[in-house]
Point group: C2
Chain length 364, copies 2
Amino acid sequence: MNERVFNFSPGPATLPLPVLQEAQQNLLALPGAGASILEISHRSKTFEQIIAQAEHNIRQLLRLPQEYHVLFLQGGASLQFSQVPMSFLHAPGRYAEYLVTGSWAKRALAEAQREGDVRVVWDGKSDNYRRVPKPGEYETTPGAAYVHFTSNETIQGVQFPSEPEAGRVPLVCDASSDFLSRPIDVRRYGLIYAGAQKNVGPAGVTIVIIRQDLLEQVTDDLPTMLNYKVHVEHRSLYNTPPVFAVYIVLLVTRWLLENIGGLEQMYAINRQKAQMLYDAIDRSEGFYRAHAQPDSRSLMNVTWRLPNEELEAEFVKQAKEAGLHELKGHRSVGGIRASIYNAMPVEGVRALVQFMQHFHQKHA
Amino acid sequence: MNERVFNFSPGPATLPLPVLQEAQQNLLALPGAGASILEISHRSKTFEQIIAQAEHNIRQLLRLPQEYHVLFLQGGASLQFSQVPMSFLHAPGRYAEYLVTGSWAKRALAEAQREGDVRVVWDGKSDNYRRVPKPGEYETTPGAAYVHFTSNETIQGVQFPSEPEAGRVPLVCDASSDFLSRPIDVRRYGLIYAGAQKNVGPAGVTIVIIRQDLLEQVTDDLPTMLNYKVHVEHRSLYNTPPVFAVYIVLLVTRWLLENIGGLEQMYAINRQKAQMLYDAIDRSEGFYRAHAQPDSRSLMNVTWRLPNEELEAEFVKQAKEAGLHELKGHRSVGGIRASIYNAMPVEGVRALVQFMQHFHQKHA
């Protein structure tokens, strides 16, 4: 009953086995601390080292310049949807521009519209959110406080192959579902936020990276807990942070550095895994049909349809019996979704490809 | 190196050993789920059962009437300091009354003052926050939206022996450091909030209990994530909740019900533990001096001084060598603080009392 399956959940999602094993081994008492990570004070030297090392690992992985601050907050991307526009749009004359590429971008937009002047510069609705915009397909303006995009849409399975154009305006990115899955052009970002529960940890911690010049623009007329300046000043220890989740982020980022070798290597593995699945779809002679257009296909969430909904339900059911769990697509898109974040091993994807081929042969 | 000590940390704090053992045993794969609690979807049947059972246990422990909703949120009491007044004080003519009994009440007050009309009806400053108000020592008014109090002050070590008077106005309580440590007169509360990391779980989940009539007063002009109505409607699953922390709350509340027998029994044990320490202080002929006045002494955080700061530092150092950790008082009060929440075993308190006696004999 305790056997581990291949878990294609869109998030919370599978974690590296060595991370789970280390957390398990130390769960009654962290070496030298005399207490569990669940029990130690966030003001203890032990935890100060944990959070400092987690930050250090993220800095190293992203090659973050010194003018970027790394925060460990709570509330998920959903709270950031509000905190970002509250921070930058409350002053007169300020506005932001949003690229709308799917369900999560729409949520970010809706919250921003409550807070200030927000302009949609591109919306993929007419294409049913099967793609991201091409360069030149939209225009941003130099006066915008920021340009917001969702680097990967978990539900639709579309992903920006690289950062969108925004001139010299800072990018603000919801990177929840592809954070630390590949190298990024970090200097183009003013702010990055990411719920940890896809690629870098369990649910319960939100990583925010903010550049000094944006930090200085944050309005002070905010509840203290929603003020990035306060969290930077207190190095994420203004109040009790989610200690255990930060600890798991430390273990995952260490795994990325030491077991994988960094983001270039992780990116190569992620491309390989996604390619295996998209090849299986494209070579199925139309039995499997990808949702996303080829140049916008996500490396994290692969979404596709079968000839009819009965076959899709049968696919999900038989896959589960074969130890391939959580493959049902989101109800708004339907079909199948395989989430293959950093920690999904190549063997899991290989098993899914084999299952797809057998299923196709049986039901073609 | 992995030996467990007696951990008197004020929070995050010690957890019941059987809870840690069960979490450890299942950390690679929850029975029947095929994945770790750190990896399962918050939309899975497994987690739906976990969060429903955690809620059920809290309802049973507090004997909550149906008109109360139980939420599992993020951001800690510090975010509630803002969310409460944002919810109830933004409309014209609305005001709230605050009882200020120590450091945490002051923080709650400061955030509320940013949001609306707030009146301090009692402040213990002139007594250096050594006590809570007596009945009749302050007046509340029937027009207040709510009366706010901090049931236990973690830093000063003062606690309301029972709910303060507020006429028919609903009480709003920051119960972070004594939640589920004793029975309460629940119908007097309109809203209770508590960070879990003292008595009921790890850092990273905030429990909010809100009565239906207060819920209906919540303004809709709020960021979605700060709207209690949204979280009630989605049963704490509007966005990804802190899955693991909720799971630990389930295990702790089950331990309270099954191992301890409920809040009456827990209260008896907590009184016994606190009495052992206060007796040791009171019988020391002035060598140890309690910070709190006798009728306001906390059952959760016992605070006291020694004849001088050198002895206090020596006490903390030698105690740690004896396996009694985290006894240093908060810098704002000084001296010693022993936090003896639900999960601190009687044996831990007994060991501390013995150490106190030996230390006194050696240094008197």
